[in-house]
């Protein structure tokens, strides 16, 4: 490969200056003429029958343009994967925050006031908020067709786990709990919906999955997908949360009814109680190893709380059940997963997608085993870690793999050896690793891969269209760098359009750490096509064979003779003339060649590439207060080639601090079925004062399937952080944390049990 000009450079994000100047229009900044403001009346009960709804008074309030309840909706059962949703509650409500009715009015105050005028008569039902309790006999059913409140079961059984345990020198067995946490993106969820004369609905919505959303919403509204357009303006963060949510659909129903566009942005309170936070999980783990520290077998049982409806919780529980198996050279594993309904807010995707939950548990278990065997925890991971060009227990073809490099670089930078040996009282250092995917065929069941469009106008301006939206992670910049590199032009010539389902390719979206590898390959293929079209024109101008033409620094030339060249913009202008005004449009796609896993065995290569990581945390515990301070944090990540090292570092630092927040601060507390801390006053996320400096290390083995060798980074940035910290706490105090989050109170309680 020739030297790279644009890829591998730490450019500022291409839209960063607009954002710094306050010019970027986020979803919540948009306004349309005659736009109305919507508000949702939400259930105050966790479980209740709706006996009667009276909306007449609300309708007559001046300024109110539409009031809707279930009878005004299409009344279709739908859902992204499980059809257990309705747009507004029909006969009963299933969680505090469930959507019951809604109002559109000329301003927010009137809409809010109108909600008070809607009278709903409820008959309270017994409720259940804990997933283990929900599975017990004689517990009220949340959806009548799901006995035991079990929405889904997942099973995997490979090798002979019982035999493996028999052949183990140590077996560790324990129960862990990972709590419900909130994504806490700074811009709340919401949308503007508008309906045209033909009935076609346009959504302006911040979403990671515009095309999949369109399919789901078409079903919900009872229209063809063609009758829905999803436009994704810039939006303020997502971290997995911004997928399908009733808040968008309620806006559409109101817009239909009112005949005007309706803007519906969650208040922060509504976002807490009716967003889709992380799936809480009870995880039982049994892990065996030989005397030498070779892992023998692993068995887990996962019970995940889906809340009142399944969004993607079943896929998240499945991921928890088996993804981490491909981090080490396991031969014998068995998992059972239950996705369970409860009368709480529906839970769903949050950076890590179940692998974050299981990584915390597996890496805690490994740490315990290392201790029992008196083996260095880093050494134990190196002994068992999977390597490049291996095939994992589930048939995952590991191309590039920098896991062991990550371990050695992270431990070296954190002075692991020295700090383990010269251990000071109440100081500790802990390690954790993770694997992840860059795309997930088990989730993307119809196909996986991505397409791209590259349009080049007369003036040489390049516009890239992709289906993977930028939620702030820098996707646009990565696409622009890839396309600029392929075309041989500077970055400032390349622009990336927002995703608009009328123009953009049918992209699956920004999830599963797939944007850079899948979307990047899609736009690279499109750039390739556009380049060939331009090369034909340039070849004529240079009187050369198109196959011999190259472009670099905005100039076309014949390979080997850069001194005789034609400027890029002369070529794009000529191309427009000879095509009678038609622009150059390159299209292309990437087929990752992954496999849908076998229904029974789950065997199959689900991703074209797998990123890896090792994180090391150093903590200090105050023996008098139990307070934990993270002193140092090193995060080494195998990301293939970093398209933009600065942006990659930013992903790592942000992901680690989210993990730190989860480990030490964050907890959605449910009391009597309602969330007791639905605001930033009582639900604390890390501030600058809570956040240590994170030292990111980029490990860059070139990944053959990636665009210019790249893999993804989004989720692995967070996955190992919790157990790196809790393993450090163990090293500092001997206290094994089995329930997140850790608090000073918990630590102090454990310390006080000890003889003084």
């Amino acid at each position: 490969m020739r030297d790279l000009d644009v890829v591998g450079q730490s450019y500022p994000q291409i839209d960063a200056m607009e954002k710094a100047m306050g010019k970027t229009k986020f979803v919540s900044d948009l306004a349309l003429p005659n736009m109305l403001y919507g508000r949702i009346l939400r259930s105050p009960y966790a479980h209740a029958r709706i006996k009667h709804i009276d909306i007449s008074k609300a309708k007559s309030l001046t300024g109110v343009k539409a009031v809707v309840a279930y009878a005004d909706t299409p009344g279709i059962k739908f859902g992204p994967r499980t059809e257990d949703w309705t747009i507004l509650a029909s006969d009963k409500v299933r969680f505090c925050g469930d959507e019951v009715a809604a109002v559109a009015a000329v301003d927010e105050d009137i809409a809010e006031g109108a909600l008070d005028l809607i009278k709903v008569e409820y008959e309270e039902l017994p409720m259940v908020s804990d997933p283990l309790e929900a599975m017990e006999p004689d517990v009220p059913l949340i959806h009548e067709d799901k006995p035991g409140n079990i929405a889904f079961e997942f099973k995997i059984d490979v090798g002979d786990v019982d035999e493996a345990f028999k052949n183990s020198y140590v077996i560790y067995e324990d129960r862990y709990y990972t709590n419900q946490v909130y994504q806490a993106y700074l811009e709340p969820m919401g949308a503007i919906a508008d309906v045209d004369l033909s009935g076609r609905i346009t959504f302006w919505v911040g979403t990671q999955i515009p095309n999949m959303m369109r399919m789901t919403y078409a079903k919900a509204m009872g229209v063809s997908p063609d009758s829905i357009r999803v436009i994704v303006p810039d939006y303020g963060g997502a971290f997995g949360a911004k997928m399908e949510n009733n808040v968008h659909l309620v806006a559409a129903v109101l817009a239909q009814k009112a005949g005007y566009p309706v803007k519906m942005i969650n208040t922060r309170h509504d976002d807490f109680i009716a967003g889709n936070p992380r799936v809480p999980m009870y995880i039982d783990i049994k892990l065996g190893a030989t005397r030498e520290g070779i892992l023998t077998g692993k068995e887990v049982r996962v019970v995940g709380g889906a809340g009142a409806r399944v969004v993607y919780a079943h896929a998240i529980v499945a991921t928890a059940c088996y993804r981490a198996d491909s981090l080490y050279r396991f031969k014998h594993v068995r998992s059972k997963g239950y996705t369970v309904y409860t009368n709480t807010v529906p839970t769903s995707c949050f950076r890590g997608f179940g692998n974050a939950q299981m990584t915390f548990v597996l890496e805690s278990a490994l740490d315990t085993i290392a201790d029992q065997l008196d083996i260095d925890p880093a050494e134990l991971r190196i002994k068992n870690g999977i390597g490049p060009d291996e095939v994992s227990i589930h048939g995952w073809i590991i191309n590039s793999c920098g896991l062991k490099d990550c371990i050695s670089k992270a431990t070296e930078a954190a002075k692991w050896q020295e700090k383990r040996q010269l251990k000071k009282p109440f100081r500790g250092i802990g390690i954790s690793c993770c694997n992840h995917v860059s795309g997930n065929r088990a989730f993307a069941r119809e196909f996986d891969g991505a397409g791209g469009i590259v349009r080049i106008g007369r003036d040489g301006r390049v516009t890239v269209y992709a289906g993977e939206s930028d939620m702030g992670q820098g996707q646009k910049t990565v696409f622009a760098q890839i396309v600029a590199e392929r075309l041989g032009v500077p970055l400032n010539l390349v622009h990336v359009a927002i995703v608009d389902t009328d123009f953009s390719p049918f992209g699956l979206g920004s999830f599963a750490t797939r944007g850079t590898l899948m979307g990047g390959n899609g736009v690279l293929a499109a750039a390739d096509d556009a380049f060939k079209q331009l090369a034909d024109v340039a070849a004529e101008m240079l009187e050369a064979n198109p196959n011999d033409v190259e472009c670099s620094n905005e100039k076309f030339f014949v390979k080997g003779s850069p001194e005789r060249n034609v400027p890029f913009k002369d070529v794009t202008e000529k191309a427009t003339f000879v095509r009678y005004g038609s622009p150059v449009i390159g299209t292309g796609f990437y087929n990752p060649g992954t496999e849908l896993p076998d229904a029974e065995t789950k065997y199959g290569n689900i991703s074209p590439a797998y990123p890896f990581a090792c994180q090391v945390a150093e903590v200090e515990v105050d023996p008098d207060t139990g307070q934990i301070k993270v002193l140092n944090f090193v995060a080494a990540h195998d990301i293939g080639r970093a398209i933009n090292p600065m942006a990659t570092e930013g992903q790592i630092q942000g992901g680690v601090i989210q993990g730190l927040g989860w480990a030490l601060m964050e907890n959605m507390v449910t009391e009597n079925g309602s969330i007791a801390n639905p605001d930033f006053l009582d639900y604390l996320i890390p501030t600058a004062l809570d956040s240590p400096n994170i030292t990111p290390i980029l490990v860059e083995p070139i990944e053959s399937s990636g665009p210019y060798g790249a893999k993804g980074i989004g989720e692995p940035a967070l996955n190992p952080a919790m157990s790196a910290i809790t393993n450090a706490i163990y090293n500092a105090t001997g206290i094994r944390i089995k329930e997140l989050p850790v608090s000073a109170e918990k630590i102090l309680k454990e310390l006080n049990k000890r003889p003084k």
Binding site: Q13, M17, D109, D234, T267, Q653, G654, P686
Partner: protein
């Protein structure tokens, strides 16, 4: 019932009739279309709506519109002169912006800090921006961006603060 207020926003005088229960952030965003000021929580906990009022950073969602009467307000749109403010450049160049929803508030808080403390230590920077939540960056690059503007003469509009937009 509406209340009359006189307020200077980004150097321009405005005579407005506002609802007494409306907050400054609503007035800025809805009446003056200054959507650079963001609304993240509406309860003064996230800092996204930070603006400078008489040179000091405030959560504009906690200021009732009538309280802004007779005050001078600077929003992110008013921070730059002909050129972007050095802090705006530094935030963009150092990778301190990901989704960018917190950026306007964060930058204005940083501006207010550097006005009174042109050469802050890391802890002082972290403590100054502790009221501005960012969920994307983990703050490392934010601190770096602010530090790069410290004491380098890059923040030194004369009489910084009150007349910074002049």
């Amino acid at each position: 019932m509406k209340v009359r207020i006189n307020v200077i926003v980004n150097g321009e005088k405005h005579h407005l009739e506002v609802k007494p229960n409306h907050t400054l952030v609503d007035v800025l965003r809805e009446e003056l279309s200054l959507t650079g000021t963001k609304k993240g929580c509406g309860s003064g906990k996230c800092g996204s709506c930070t603006v400078l009022m008489d040179g000091r950073p405030v959560n504009s969602c906690l200021i009732l519109a009538p309280q802004a009467d007779g005050r001078e307000v600077v929003t992110i749109e008013g921070l730059a002169g002909r050129e972007p403010h050095p802090l705006q450049k530094a935030f963009a160049e150092k990778g301190a912006i990901q989704c960018g929803y917190c950026a306007p508030g964060m930058i204005l808080t940083a501006k207010a800090l550097l006005d009174v403390n042109p050469n802050p230590q890391e802890e002082e920077i972290r403590s100054a921006i502790a009221g501005n939540l960012c969920r994307c960056t983990g703050y490392s690059k934010t601190v770096e961006a602010i530090r790069s503007c410290a004491n380098s003469g890059r923040n030194n509009r004369p009489s910084a603060g009150r007349k910074a937009y002049a």
